[in-house]
Point group: C2
Chain length 345, copies 2
């Protein structure tokens, strides 16, 4: 056990809770991982159990009294205002007591952490498309403005959910004869497990006398989608890449529209002549998807002087922000060290 100063960086999402314990020089002393820890989605008690597990793991062999600052980024499309009190935060406060961490804890929107995960600049903007979609403007490493992030029912335009829903609607229209044929129909049907993906293991069991099952209808698609929570539609988003790679015009039109929505969301919080960095976050924008390609193209046209960078590891970014809040802004060397190994997701 050492007695050097430490900070903790946490990336708390709906499916995983990740923690890094690092020194002021950016050296990792501990890492922890547990299941989802978002109190809004899971309830404060269940979230607190995950938090405690991940933090205890990260602090194994370390002295909790050495922790000088904690930054915790919380998923939810940037719903939490910068520096706000956490809803249901009493359960989290009890966790810090129980593990012996007595320093200040900053709860921050995941969109701000994603910005820091892309750049060490104090000012700039972020556009995120994962399950949801949001854009923020950042000033002095705090969230200054926000656009969209309004959730799947009333917003999140251009998000993974939005893409999945549009793809199902395109498949339904094709099946009903209301819209053009599209490669998305077969992809969506397979993905919703409404039929076997082509000739597979089961084909041997099909005797010649077994009539093939009737092809799925639009109504079958509706039933399959409605059997799950709406946000499960985001799982279909990667199919868009497959259809666009084949030059499917329906898929390309959906990708175009998503990119326009995301660029419009960003434009709401970013002036036309701004040269500060733009961070791209969320799986739709950090992977080489048709939507990411189109968004990058629009950004180059609209903000030719801006650096466009992807968001990297959120837990490392939270740790970086914790260091910046208790001392000088970490040097590029420290930043590189922090981000050199991705935190296990």
């Amino acid at each position: 056990m050492t007695d050097e100063a430490l900070v903790l960086g946490l990336d708390v999402g709906g499916t995983s809770t990740r923690v890094l314990a690092v020194t002021p020089r950016g050296v990792r002393r501990g890492a922890g991982r547990a299941s989802g820890g978002n109190p809004t989605g899971l309830g404060p008690e269940r979230a607190a159990v995950a938090l405690a597990e991940a933090v205890e793991q990260a602090l194994t062999g370390l002295n909790p009294a050495d922790v000088r600052h904690v930054v915790l980024g919380l998923a939810g499309g940037g719903v939490l205002p910068s520096g706000a009190d956490l809803p249901g935060g009493e359960a989290f406060a009890r966790v810090w007591d129980s593990v012996g961490v007595t320093c200040p804890v900053d709860y921050e929107p995941d969109a701000l952490i994603a910005f820091v995960a892309g750049t060490d600049a104090p000012e700039g903007s972020l556009v995120l498309s994962g399950t949801g979609a949001v854009a923020i403007a950042v000033k002095d490493r705090a969230m200054a403005e926000r656009s969209d992030g309004h959730g799947w029912l009333l917003g999140d335009r251009g998000s993974g959910f939005w893409l999945g829903r549009r793809m199902v609607l395109a498949a339904m229209a094709a099946l009903d004869g209301d819209g053009p044929e599209t490669a998305l129909t077969g992809l969506v049907i397979e993905s919703l497990r409404l039929r076997d993906p082509g000739p597979g293991n089961d084909s041997a069991a099909t005797t010649p006398t077994t009539p093939p099952p009737p092809p799925p209808t639009a109504r079958d698609l509706v039933a399959a989608v409605m059997a799950e929570p709406p946000t499960a539609l985001a799982r279909l988003a990667p199919l868009l890449s497959t259809a666009c790679a084949d030059g499917d015009p329906v898929a390309e039109a959906i990708a175009d529209r998503a990119a326009e929505h995301l660029a419009a969301t960003l434009s709401t919080v970013r002036g036309p002549d701004t040269a500060t960095p733009i961070v791209l976050a969320g799986s739709v924008l950090t992977n080489p998807t048709p939507v990411a390609e189109r968004v990058r193209r629009i950004l180059r046209e609209r903000w030719p002087d801006a650096e466009v960078v992807p968001a990297l590891d959120g837990a490392a970014a939270a740790a970086w922000l914790a260091l910046a809040r208790i001392g000088p802004v970490p040097t590029p060397e420290i930043r590189e060290r922090l981000f050199s190994i991705p935190t296990a997701s």
Copy 2:
């Protein structure tokens, strides 16, 4: 107790279960009413309890063995195909056993019953806009084709849910400065109880030193909407009439678009030169709303020779259909007698 023949007509919805017991001459012998009885929304067991209660009420003082036929219309935007087995129907079958009704029971989509509630013609079409939206073509008093009815997440275009969501989006855009000012903003805010409806009882309690609460933001609207099930948005639909009465252009544009959607849904199942009747059903179309007015105008242009009639009492229509299925088509006199008193909703 008499021993004349009887039929039962049932209108089973999400919020009420209504039953009529009538003679072949259309004379009411009994009526029953209970809470919602839709097995899909409420579960088969709870639905069966409501069904038993309403049927027992309707059969008070009557001999269940005299019931020759039952037609039961089931809410759900026409999801149930004409004559199909009811999902979870075993619980309903036990109800019929327990009350001593041994005759055949036809489970029918509510859209077909609504058609029969508008006309005694064997053929025609129906367009419905309530919480959901659907159109059907009817042949030989059975559902022949259906369009939309795909539920709030993937369809129901022009429905009460659709209107409510569009009105909230218009209010959010106005609050964010992304869209034009509209009377809908204040109406939606009041309806979501985000502020007092003007100076009211509470104003006396407000001392001059109390600062007024900050005006609601788009984000407050999102939070209020997300705190309820999505279909609760349909409750906002009547506000559109208020805003359209004031000539609000944003509200009028929403009404225009809803009417276009509903006309398109109907056109999918109805040929251009058809002269059979068109039945309007659901609260958005049977009340004098801006959407109903626009839909009627489009129907007059597109099908000038068609009679356009509103759907009346569903329980009476189900009883009428039950009579038509075991004997000659009831005379206009019998029909008038059946529909003369609305079944208590």
